[in-house]
Symmetry: C2
Subunit: 273 residues, 2 copies
């Protein structure tokens, strides 16, 4: 059962796009899908993914890579797309999110068709974790003691396993890992497009290393591996290396069947090291 306090913007609505010319779309970045006033990077990537799969000949994002140029303000944006290659099994599209004269995010997207009946052939390389139950996990609030308003947390139901909440008591474990659950409001189920948000939805895994301010994403790559079953997702977010004021994080996302449905890496700036 979702927390009753989920404010209720629909993911499908806040990522809606309108084609205004061939390959050009308008969209409206919602002010609530933000961290300290800046739109979540995975949310922006989902909007670009929606445009890319409209322009290409294929339904599902399989792989996408975004470089973040400049954070847009909430409000109207334009998405320019170019079909780089339309093949039989995959479409490859460039999509750029622009606000005014400023390019904010550019992404490359390889789209294809995921087979709903596909099964893992080999998955021994995927990390295995125990997750506390959804009902036993702790919802992340929009109002945080560190002073940043994370409004997006009121729009989704994001819960952390109590075992990774050490940072909240001022005693990060040092493991550099967060895990928990993610559900959308309005009973919306996940699809390949909203999985692009899921891989960037969690707080920085560095919270379990040392306190920092905002950790802005420079690059985010996501692979969608299977069509997600209905229900909340399990998410594992792992830091690997902090050096030269950069951190890389890996993300693994499982659906309610415990199938790995998405995975991602990102490089972000951080005020450590």
């Amino acid at each position: 059962v979702l927390d009753e306090r989920v404010a209720g913007t629909l993911f499908s609505e806040v990522t809606a796009i309108t084609e205004t010319a061939s390959g050009t779309f308008s969209a409206e970045i919602h002010p609530n899908w933000t961290i300290g006033g800046k739109p979540n990077g995975g949310y922006l990537l989902a909007v670009l993914g929606r445009a890319a799969t409209t322009v290409g000949h294929h339904t599902h994002v399989l792989a996408t890579s975004a470089h973040y140029l400049s954070a847009p303000q909430p409000g109207p944006v334009v998405i320019h797309t170019e079909l780089l290659r339309g093949g039989r099994s995959a479409s490859q599209v460039r999509a750029t999110l622009v606000q005014g004269e400023t390019s904010c995010v550019e992404a490359l997207v390889t789209a294809g068709e995921l087979d709903p009946d596909a099964q893992p052939y080999w998955s021994a390389g995927v990390p295995v974790r125990d997750f506390a139950d959804f009902d036993k996990s702790v919802r992340v609030p929009a109002q945080t003691p560190v002073g940043i308003e994370v409004l997006i947390m009121d729009e989704v139901d994001l819960r952390l396993d109590p075992a990774v909440l050490n940072f909240a008591f001022g005693a990060p474990s040092g493991a550099g890992e967060l895990r928990g659950w993610l559900a959308l409001g309005g009973n919306e189920d996940f699809d390949p497009c909203s999985l692009l948000y899921a891989v960037d939805a969690f707080p920085p895994a560095t919270f379990e290393i040392a306190p920092t301010g905002w950790v802005p994403t420079l690059e985010l790559t996501a692979y969608v591996r299977a069509l997600p079953a209905p229900g909340p997702l399990k998410v594992l977010q792992q830091a690997r290396l902090i050096e030269g004021q950069k951190v890389d994080e890996a993300c693994f996302v499982w659906d309610s069947r415990d199938r790995l449905v998405a995975q991602a890496t990102q490089l972000a700036g951080i005020r450590l090291g």
Copy 2:
């Protein structure tokens, strides 16, 4: 000591670019830097990285993401670049490798300046492996029993730890992991640009799962984390999930000081699952 059979094309030569117009470059894809006649994907990305750091205001590739559209033939190619954003701390560039009328690879590049004196602040998320010594590791030959000519193996000195050679005896371990060493010919040391080749240099980690043919890269993302010290690199290549005829692999690269200098993920097609 490098194997005397390293044929001796220089990496700096086979990735050389010439600016023919503002932001446009010509290059020559070398016929020996190929697997079954197709250029190595990391080699192509290194050429794009070279162009991107020439156009931008920053020296070192920090993060790059490439989507592979169509394999070029060895021979002349043209690289088109566009500076998406030239900031104080980073330049962000789009680079496209074109042959004739065909776009072959498009990459986004975030470049900056790596500090030679930076030290890891936290690195507990990086995998740890024992590597057999360089001299005790086994060089991968260009002529393989499976019939594919991997000419690139004559141009570099790539050695596998004997512990991961089970596949060569027809008995893959199932671990989905390869590790070993990489050195360039002509005593050339690695730099951020050649690290983009290093993260895609190894055979597919799936060799230690099941025999397959060519595993073509669809998407490759690389992060360069430090300036590499002189000497051969240690490389760890790991498969994670094979499903729906796709496999994702992660790569970790250490220099002679045992510092993590690069890491990467790729999504590739595979005739399994």
